[in-house]
């Protein structure tokens, strides 16, 4: 057959096609080979049990890395010390992971590791996450790694078992969507605000079945940490994955990382990575365009991440049954502005916003100020490395002096299964990714926001626009 001029392809197509061990057919999904499998304590025990029941081994322990983050305590303790767990069940879960990793020769970033942290924070930090890879984890925010031009998505526990045993996962090709972000984020408006604005525009299920590529000048201008924040929240609009084409910013971030190739090998990879971008003329199943220049800091007013609005705008005046229910749960009225609403707890952390730049952003607002009377604020760095780096520049002191708690790394109040949670009825301003009813404890009302907005609200004791405080401290 004569060679055909190759059709323009999307970034997604290129990564997808390079990983099909077997193509999909009408009857069967494709068999997608997994380059990097990340494992944590919550979604893996039943998968390892399935392997044991069938007498199977882990096919590629060298492509499998584990850490513990979800149900691990964040209460202060000396490095390396084993913590006091919140319950016998969480203790058993972590110990089961330790035992499974030992048995199968899987590298575990455990209590004694200076590299432990939230699974989606440490992958990029260590240089395990790289462009063009397929990455899976039993966690929906695996999309974070797509910031590097990887195809990264969450899988269920049964599939964790599939990948452990075969290094493959059965997948149908998703549809594709491009989110074009024009303009540039104004000063005081962060990647988190952009993510919330995109989700509000597309809707909670608007990208269902799609792999999303974020593109455009506003995306190109983002740092890697900011890109991770954007890709992290792709699942909140239903997307299978979120991706950003790798560029000089990506290569600079990865150069010299512990687990990335070094020297000539790295430069050879960079040459290959440069081809990982959407060809001109490649078609997407859906396209959305957003102008970043017009955005403001965003907060959520409801119980789904797409129920988000600019911080100075009122909640919707005309609502439907879902919005009504959400507003009732949150204790807000239709058409009211949330600025000034009393805040009880502030949480800075999670795989969305626990990186060094997030902590700096919050600290810049907190410096020389104190949390409002009666406000509890906890700051949870995303990894041991981030904790160390933050302490080296004195950020922990800023938070402590301001009256906040400085914690050990972990998921903490993002998922509230380690003992860190809000009290019923409390209003929590949180830098995490989900404001579902009860996500941060039964009856807790969660408002999602950027680290700057969370910090400003902690100081004010009420929902506050960070731009005012940033002007005052010269950060804007």
């Amino acid at each position: 057959m004569a060679p055909r001029p190759s059709e323009p392809k999307t970034l997604f197509d290129k990564v997808w096609e390079a990983h099909l061990a077997l193509p999909e057919t009408g009857e069967n999904p494709g068999l997608l080979y997994v380059d990097l499998h990340l494992v944590h304590e919550v979604t893996s025990p039943q998968a390892f049990a399935e392997l044991a029941a069938r007498g199977l081994t882990v096919r590629r322990p060298d492509r499998t890395f584990a850490t513990m983050d979800h149900s691990t305590p964040t209460t202060p303790r000396p490095f390396g010390a084993r913590p006091v767990y919140s319950s016998p069940a969480t203790k058993k879960q972590v110990e089961t992971l330790e035992e499974n990793c030992r048995r199968h020769g899987i590298e575990l970033f455990g209590w004694d590791s200076p590299d432990r942290g939230i699974v989606h924070v440490i992958g990029p930090e260590l240089g395990l996450t790289r462009p063009g890879m397929t990455i899976v984890c039993g966690d929906s925010h695996t999309s974070t790694h797509g910031a590097f031009g990887a195809l990264a998505f969450g899988i269920g526990t049964t599939e964790v078992g599939h990948v452990l045993a075969t290094q493959c996962v059965l997948q149908r090709r998703p549809k594709t969507m491009r989110v074009n972000v024009e303009g540039r984020l104004p000063v005081g408006v962060t990647a988190k605000d952009l993510a919330l604005a995109i989700i509000a525009e597309v809707g909670a299920g608007g990208a269902a079945g799609h792999a999303v590529e974020y593109a455009g000048p506003a995306i190109a201008a983002l740092s890697m940490e900011e890109r991770m924040t954007v890709c992290n929240m792709s699942i909140e609009m239903g997307a299978r994955a979120g991706m950003i084409a790798p560029d000089e910013t990506t290569f600079a971030f990865l150069r010299g990382r512990d687990r990335a190739p070094k020297g000539a090998a790295f430069e050879a990879e960079v040459a290959r990575w440069r081809t990982l971008k959407t060809d001109p003329g490649a078609a997407f199943d859906a396209e959305v365009t957003i102008n970043a220049s017009r955005l403001s800091p965003m907060i959520t007013w409801g119980a789904s991440p797409d129920m988000a609005a600019p911080i100075d705008q009122p909640t919707p005046a005309v609502t439907g049954p879902d919005a009504d229910k959400a507003l009732r749960y949150m204790g807000f009225k239709p058409g009211e502005t949330l600025l000034g609403e009393t805040v009880h707890t502030v949480f800075i952390g999670s795989c969305t916003n626990s990186r060094l730049s997030d902590l700096r952003q919050a600290a810049a607002v907190m410096a020389g100020r104190h949390v409002g009377p009666g406000v509890r604020m906890i700051v949870v760095p995303g990894s041991e490395r981030i904790k160390k780096a933050a302490e080296a520049e004195g950020l922990d002191a800023v938070f402590r002096t301001a009256g906040a708690e400085w914690r050990e790394p972990g998921c903490s109040m993002c998922i509230a299964m380690n003992g860190d949670m809000g009290r019923p009825g409390e209003l929590v301003v949180s830098t995490s990714n989900r404001n579902f009813a009860g996500r941060q404890g039964p009856g807790v009302r969660t408002v999602l926001a950027s680290p700057a907005t969370a910090a400003a609200s902690a100081v004010a004791g009420a929902i506050a626009d960070p731009r005012r405080l940033m002007e005052m401290c010269g950060a804007a």
Binding site: A21, N28, T43, D139, I155, R434
Partner: protein, 195 residues
Amino acid sequence: MQPEPITQVSSRAFIVAEENVDTDQIIPARFLTATERGSLADACFRDWRFAKDDQPNGHPLNAVDTAERAILLAGHNFGCGSSREHAPWALRDFGVRAVVTSGAGDIFKSNAAKNGLVVAEIGREAHGALMEAVAADPDTEITVDVEGLTVSAAGVRASFDLEPFARTCLVQGVDPLGFILGRTEAIAAYEAARP
């Protein structure tokens, strides 16, 4: 292991009408600490069904007998959010055998198919009609035909799509891991051909 084949589910239904019911509602995170399977019935919709003192409250779900009503008629975008497979596990433990909705979360759908939970996504209009029919007469019998890919009840008939392999797995009781293990040669060939 080899799952039970499921060709159809016929039963009465109960309604969870809310849209965007996320998997945190289906099973709150603090119940994800289980390291074994099979004990999540009480964790299913926990924070809806139980008061602060851990006693069942007056929520209608507490009155549902899934032996009689094994079909959950759910609102749009059911099972969005977290990828936790504990969500279909909890629904199965609670006694649900099929979910009929106008749209379900992607990962939830894929997890459900691997756990013998049928998820039938039907058109908005038929979904609305079915909701009305069941609200008007809670004893309406619904049949979810997994082989023929239809949902039918008195006066309502709608078709749905199921990923063909998920359908085969349900109808024939195929074990997906066994299926992949049967293709180990292709996996080895792929690994060998990589740079």
